[in-house]
Symmetry: C2
Subunit: 239 residues, 2 copies
DNA sequence: ACCTGAACACCGTTCAAGT
DNA sequence: ACCTGAACACCGTTCAAGT
């Protein structure tokens, strides 16, 4: 263990320190309360030092997203170990997504913002590259379940449809529903059946449309939903 | 026509002037280039006057969203007149959504941001109220198609499912896909079949899952997609 | 070689003065 | 009654000076 690696280790620890401080600020006082001054103050470093790690404020926001994505990926990986058929594994991932976004709404707001050009054009290419890598990890997790379904005969993809099409469809449906569910004003104007299981029902219809077996008429996925919910809930950090 | 209404008319015209200036700025130089100074300069009013209309910058962003939503609603209304079965009308709305978001990506970024708490908590309650109203108009357009499908026997909702569940599901799927499609880095890492018809195929699977007739096996919706695309394309403003 | 924080530039917001 | 724009406060970013 030479000096170079110690320096590097300390550098990475400090970066984590900055990001933790930033996360605490937005969790406590919201995204708009995040300033470079506060990050410096909370970590007892000078503002200039923060810029040794991040090219700009948007770079920090993307750094936070990177961590959030990483935590979500950990949860998804755990979801994959859920004992059940291939559709139940998909549900388990969806439930993990829902739990995470509802537990940390500010961080989800950041993930939403990080999909717009306005943020991405300012962040450093290195950070964006790393975000793509975690995106790929998450996608691979979903891909794996789809491959499993195909191999086990539960699913036969329609002609002219790739694994990644379904992948993106599932992600889009979940992402869209969770974004719109977060908009309370919108939801209040709607007459919905039990809001909590909306994601389950829409995903079920989508997967039924793909003839992914067992169909929702052949299996009680509500039970799966409730079980996976309880299972993953225990994994969400309390603060 | 008394003085009161003339004043009011002039006031509304000036508000439109400010919003048009703001829209031009973001279309030309992006969202981050929008400043109160530039709006004042472009309209030849003082900054203080802008604040007679908008409580803050976020209020302007929401004002822009309001206009965008309005234009999209106009397009959706037009889509409803498309001659075809109920599923084709849904597709026509989806195509309108896609055309609009791809034609005006900066405005779509604003619509995305306007779904986060960070923006909404700063905008004026009046503006948010008006946004809800246009949201409701858009939802009613989709509701109408679903009702039509039910009445004509094309669709029978599953038990414990409301019209609005399907409504939100369709919206979420479209919104999610268009947001993720806008993230070029993400899309580049995916092996997708012809990207342009992704929305069509995912919506088709979802509606097949709902047993909304005619099913995609019974009807050539790709043709519908292409026809509605050409039809609506002509309606999108060129600048 | 690394950290600091004063200084700068920019921009959202206000309000006393002007018409 | 309405508009103006100088003044203010705040905050992201830089860089010369310090250790």
């Amino acid at each position: 263990m030479n000096t170079q690696t110690r320096r590097q280790r300390e550098y990475e620890q400090r970066e984590k320190l900055f990001l933790d401080a930033a996360r605490n600020i937005i969790r406590t006082d919201g995204i708009s309360a995040l300033t470079m001054d506060k990050i410096a103050e909370h970590t007892e470093y000078a503002k200039g030092t923060v810029y040794k790690h991040f090219t700009c404020k948007e770079d920090i926001l993307c750094g936070l997203c990177l961590d959030s994505l990483g935590l979500m990926y950990d949860m998804f990986s755990h979801a994959l170990t859920w004992q059940g058929n291939s559709r139940e594994k998909i549900i388990c991932i969806g439930v993990g997504y829902q739990l995470y976004t509802q537990r940390f709404p500010e961080e989800f707001d950041l993930l939403i913002a990080a999909r717009t050009n306005n943020i991405r054009e300012k962040a450093s290419p290195e950070r964006l590259e790393r975000m793509d890598q975690v995106d790929t990890l998450v996608l691979n997790a979903i891909r794996a379940v789809i491959q499993l379904a195909i191999q086990s005969g539960d699913l036969t993809l329609p002609e002219h449809t790739q694994v990644d099409d379904l992948c993106l469809g599932l992600w889009a449906m979940s992402f869209g529903l969770l974004v719109l569910e977060g908009a309370r004003d919108l939801i209040n104007g709607l007459e919905l059946s039990a809001t909590n299981t909306l994601l389950l029902h829409q995903m079920s219809c989508l997967l039924d449309g793909y003839h992914w077996h067992p169909l929702s008429t052949e299996h009680d996925y509500l039970l799966t939903y409730q079980n996976t919910f309880r299972h993953l809930e225990a994994l969400i950090p309390k603060d």
